[in-house]
Symmetry: C2
Amino acid sequence: MAEVRPDELRAAVEERLHGLGFDARTAGLIGDHYLDAELRGAATHGLERLRWLAGEDGIDPRARPVLFERADGLGRWDGNGAVGYVALADALAAEADDRPAGARLVVIERCFPTGRLGWFAERAAANGLVCLLTATSPARIAHPDGGPPALATSPLCLAVPGAPPAVVDVSMGRITFGDVLAAAAAGEPLPAGSGVRPDGSPEDDPAEILAGRAGIRPFGGDQAHKGLALAVLVELLVAAVSASPGFAAVALLAAPRSDAGRRVRDLLNGRRFPGDGSRARREAALARGSIHVPDDLWDWIRR
Amino acid sequence: MAEVRPDELRAAVEERLHGLGFDARTAGLIGDHYLDAELRGAATHGLERLRWLAGEDGIDPRARPVLFERADGLGRWDGNGAVGYVALADALAAEADDRPAGARLVVIERCFPTGRLGWFAERAAANGLVCLLTATSPARIAHPDGGPPALATSPLCLAVPGAPPAVVDVSMGRITFGDVLAAAAAGEPLPAGSGVRPDGSPEDDPAEILAGRAGIRPFGGDQAHKGLALAVLVELLVAAVSASPGFAAVALLAAPRSDAGRRVRDLLNGRRFPGDGSRARREAALARGSIHVPDDLWDWIRR
């Protein structure tokens, strides 16, 4: 592991993104998303994805999302070939600039990948808007009764303005797809019961999930049907308000009517609040002034 | 248990509601909500609540919700002393009559009780609208680390148009508050691990939860922090878009852009789809032509 200063890492990442054809603004945006994920310990949304992005065909670094439908309370966008991070960030920023006095549903079709939704929702909340955000992505979760991978990991994220904003971000799998990648890279089995085979029996071999021959089990333990139902809810919601069959992101933006973060924090009376661990890890890494990056990845970034 | 024909039960329930001062329309609406819950085997949202309603002070059977804010993409209503079932049903019906070409957030403040949200969301879907619906209610869920009951059971419900509509309805507790009432009435302990004491240890005595000295554990098993985070998400969302500190319901209504039910059903390829069990129980009870009602409850309804 290399220990890299955050500013040094940011500069190297942005330069790499420049090299891929992104302009200064979008390189800054994508780089910050990756760096923020690393700082929070969510490495599976972090710099390893830069290496993936560099290898992807069909991404146009100059493409930008386009608004194609405006109706009361609704804006529908098309990713238009832009990488999902840029499509989602730009569409949300444009909608926030023309902010709703009430509320607005924002649909971004053909939008992939979107990474860690908390990063986008927190930006909207810092901009004074309540933001409920979800997105679809490749099928990874299988029905707990079995069958092939059928549903996205189905994150559901909410950020509300406050100091700091409250950000809750939950996905419906027992593990993330990033956990599968990490276990495969380390040559280790998955935690028992994380995967499910087509016949419904447990699968602990990450290679089987990577190959699409097994799925991730919904979270919930003996109530995995509840995790499944929530993943179905996300898939249904996104599918219902979009017409393109591809992956999409859906955001509800609303002007706040109360300081909800304070109200709900008071209810939990100092007990661990969702999202606080992630924020604390970020602050600790910044205070420490270094980020751990795998040597080969750091070499690749600077290459 | 009495075996009662559905039409006979409906007539008796509506007469009881008339006796409480509800007019024909609202008696029909509340009666149908209770009867539908009984037919689906969700008795805890069913006729026992009629007995509760009859004993409640401060409910005005003639009260109706009032719209107090209209902004782009938003309608905010106040329950205005109406029973929550009527406040929610009337507000959603009025918004559906003036249906959004795009989408609309509907907030109904001071709205309690709301019962089984699936009933309301499915009506909106039958009316051609996508309906994401949630509501707050008394604190029943405790943090898995302990402390007092802090959060509502926090149902999250989505219905999308289709034949039949797809309806997903998930609450974030390991058990429902109705399960607690039923266990207490039967003099039986709760399933192991259902409750959580202020010190974080398990509580299986329903009387302790009824007395507010223990809470319901969030669902999720060893990942109960995810169930907790989803309950926090619901509380935050409802609090953020409402100004009154009381209980509220929040609905997102949207015009559909695809047949999402078919799309997502195809993904699960015939495996158990959320909500289908509930619908099948209802259809079986109707085909059987009888509903089981506890003798004392049936005697009370006809009294």
